[in-house]
């Protein structure tokens, strides 16, 4: 099960970006891609194949679910939303990253202060 795996290894960047994009509210595929690029500061642009492979996996693990569908320009748009399980996992991952970043920041401060070379 994906949730079980996530407890043992860190979340992949595309998954983190997708869950973060959906944390603000339901979004459709193209919206997730543009939002993920914004969140990553332009560093990561999700490819369509990667996005839908991740969505397929996240949907199976019940971390995201379809919200609604609408037709725009003659094309189907499906919106996805974060489930409570998905939000909990994102919160845990955010905390883990925050803790790692805090350690990194602390060591860099010590290095700059001349503690280690």
């Amino acid at each position: 099960m994906y949730v079980y795996d996530m407890k043992k290894r860190s979340m992949q960047e595309p998954t983190f970006l997708i869950l973060t994009a959906l944390a603000a509210g339901p979004q459709h595929g193209y919206g997730i891609i543009t939002d993920a690029e914004r969140i990553s500061g332009g560093v990561t642009r999700l490819q369509t194949g990667t996005l839908y492979m991740a969505l397929d996996r996240l949907r199976s693990a019940r971390l995201v679910e379809p919200d609604r569908e609408e037709v725009a320009g003659g094309r189907l748009r499906r919106y996805y939303r974060l489930t409570d399980e998905g939000a909990a996992l994102l919160a845990a991952e955010t905390e883990r990253r925050r803790a790692s970043a805090a350690v990194a920041a602390q060591r860099l401060r010590a290095r700059l202060a001349g503690g280690t070379a």
Binding site: Y30, G49, D56, R75, L76
Partner: protein, 334 residues
């Protein structure tokens, strides 16, 4: 995609649709329209062909999803039904291939010794093939009469002999006569199909279920088609004993014959797709035979030998995963 180039957009859409065929049918059914929408929305103005990176990403992700779904694909009811169909057709194909192989051997030697002399005066140490043909006839008949366990036991014994024959090929060649050579000749069976037949008999509802799914006519057609595909070299040798069946071009023709046989006998249903997938695994050993790189001391080519053994072993976990799926469903229902 700007509306000023509708023809270009149509071309691009067609090309993306072609790439989306890499995805499993159920994924396509659910996501195709929205994926197409995203792909076209992200396209550059005037773009008519998918970028290389985009194309590789779509193909790789589609294939990755297919691979990820294999355990579920096998564990579904259709997986067990497919194995049941395989347990019906594979033993019959093995029996026919044994007969074809023996016939081809007799045809190539007929110029030197009359056929019936070869049959009647066969040395006891080389008579394993007679026993093994009777054994596979028994497997087919026992399977059809509902004695799946007995059929599975005989098929497994034959497979064990085949393993021993492969692993002791060198020993057999240095020994003339005796039990070792008898067992060697009894193990002279198509290893992959024997393995497929044995594991499908052990881990499926059995040939009677397979017959209920495909019916007599379809089963006979599949058996005939697959026998023709897998037995292509021997059929040619029967027609022309001097045919150069060992040549590379001929071996490649053999691979093509199997591919055609799998495609022609394929049934367009979830069960049929799984049956074709299982049987098509036999293409790997045939392909490997076309790339002999290193000679093995027993006269075998090492690469084909390893591929045959690997594929013959791998069909067992596949069958076990499928069987475990059925057990799990039964325990949930019970």
């Amino acid at each position: 995609m700007p509306a000023r180039d509708p023809a270009g957009a149509a071309v691009l859409e067609r090309r993306y649709l072609r790439l989306l065929r890499c995805y499993p049918p159920t994924h396509r059914e659910f996501h195709r329209e929205e994926m197409l929408g995203v792909l076209l929305a992200a396209a550059r103005p005037g773009q008519r062909t998918p970028g290389l990176g985009q194309a590789v990403n779509l193909a790789a992700c589609g294939l990755a999803i297919r691979v990820r779904r294999i355990p579920g694909w096998l564990a579904a009811d259709a997986g067990q039904d497919a194995l049941a169909v395989v347990s019906l057709i594979a033993p019959a194909v093995v029996l026919i291939l044994l007969a074809l192989g023996r016939g081809a051997q007799a045809a190539t030697a007929a110029a030197r010794v009359p056929f019936w002399t070869q049959v009647l005066l066969v040395p006891p140490s080389l008579g394993g093939w007679v026993v093994v043909m009777i054994a596979w006839l028994a497997v087919v008949l026992l399977g059809l009469t509902g004695s799946r366990g007995a059929a599975a036991a005989i098929a497994s014994i034959s497979l064990t002999l085949a393993w021993l024959a492969v692993l002791t090929a060198g020993v057999q060649q240095s020994v003339s006569g005796g039990l070792v050579q008898f067992l060697g000749s009894a193990g002279d069976v198509p290893v992959f199909l024997t393995s497929l037949a044995a594991c499908s008999l052990v881990f499926s509802p059995g040939p009677r279920r397979g017959l209920a799914i495909v019916g007599w006519r379809r089963a006979c057609f599949m058996i005939a088609g697959l026998s023709a595909g897998f037995g292509f070299p021997w059929i040619v040798q029967l027609a022309d004993p001097a045919a150069p069946v060992g040549d590379l071009a001929f071996r490649l023709l053999g691979v093509l014959a199997i591919a055609v046989a799998v495609a022609v006998t394929r049934v367009r249903s979830p069960v049929g797709r799984r049956v074709a997938g299982l049987v098509a695994t036999g293409l790997l050993p045939s392909l490997a035979v076309t790339i002999p790189l290193v000679d093995y001391p027993g006269g075998w080519d090492l690469v084909p030998l390893l591929v045959i053994l690997l594929v013959a072993v791998l069909v067992w976990p596949v069958a076990i995963v499928s069987w475990l799926g059925r057990v799990r469903r039964a325990s949930r229902a019970g």
